[in-house]
């Protein structure tokens, strides 16, 4: 697997490269710094995408500006990524696997590949350990909600109903 890099659209330099992944976050982002220290790189051949995420979009840095993109733009972006040579993708992006027909499923359909994504918030520790669990706001501060356990779910490409 080739060495990782910052994303094609990322305007940030100096980020530590990680094998088998592309990081679309700002290099100073704490989540980005923590998740890059993960030990489970290239798990089962999944190419890692690091980006902030929501159930229907991910967020990337483009010329220093933060933009939200849907699965269609993301698919084009990943296909232009020199380090990504096709194959299954793991999204290290919060909540992208929360919906049955959300970002991860749509990306799987668009690229015709399996896509693994967290079903809720993805939390990363400074040592690289990461896990999926819910969150709740207490006095405006987001805390882990262990009553809402999440997981990394794999979405497989689905044919359209009229095909």
């Amino acid at each position: 697997m080739g060495s990782g890099s910052k994303g094609l659209y990322s305007g940030t330099f100096g980020s530590k490269a990680t094998p088998g992944s592309t990081d679309y976050m700002d290099s100073g982002d704490s989540f980005s710094k923590f998740i890059k220290r993960r030990k489970d790189i290239d798990t089962n051949g999944f190419y890692d995408i690091i980006a902030h995420g929501s159930p229907t979009t991910i967020q990337i840095q483009h010329n220093g500006v933060t933009i939200d993109i849907d699965h269609r733009t993301a698919a084009k972006l990943f296909l232009r990524d020199k380090n990504y040579h096709g194959g299954a993708i793991r999204l290290l992006s919060c909540s992208t696997g929360k919906l049955d027909s959300g970002f991860a499923q749509n990306l799987a359909n668009k690229l015709n590949i399996p896509v693994q994504a967290p079903t809720d918030l993805l939390w990363a520790k400074p040592n690289g350990r990461h896990y999926v669990t819910g969150g709740k706001y207490v006095n405006g501060q987001l805390v882990e909600d262990h009553s809402k356990k999440g997981s990394m779910k794999t979405f497989y490409p689905q044919r359209r109903k009229n095909e």
């Binding site: 929501s54 229907t56 992006s93 805390v143």
Partner: protein, 118 residues
Amino acid sequence: MSKKIICEQCGNPMTYFQEAHTCGWICPVCGDGVATSYFEPILTDIVDYHVILVSADKSLTSIKTISKIANCNFIEAKKMIENVPVEVFCGKAVDVKEIKDKLESVCIEIRIKPEFPY
């Protein structure tokens, strides 16, 4: 009352941080912590909200607005006004917020189900 998050490593209270779209907790003593993505709750709300038209006059402005939101022609939009209450849109919170603001700006009365917190 604020909730104290205690560091698993050293037992000291952790500090909350939020920087752009990342937030989390960090221990000022040992440096342990956790980080995740932060989005406005409306952006991650996955509930499907139903926008119900309650009342509207039959002015061209109302008909045009409803036609655009319900994705129908003017005749159908007028029928909707005559047959209230009727659902004119169903979707996620971000879209519903935009529609709510648009309808309220032209004095069209709506109801949203389930309760819309934004």
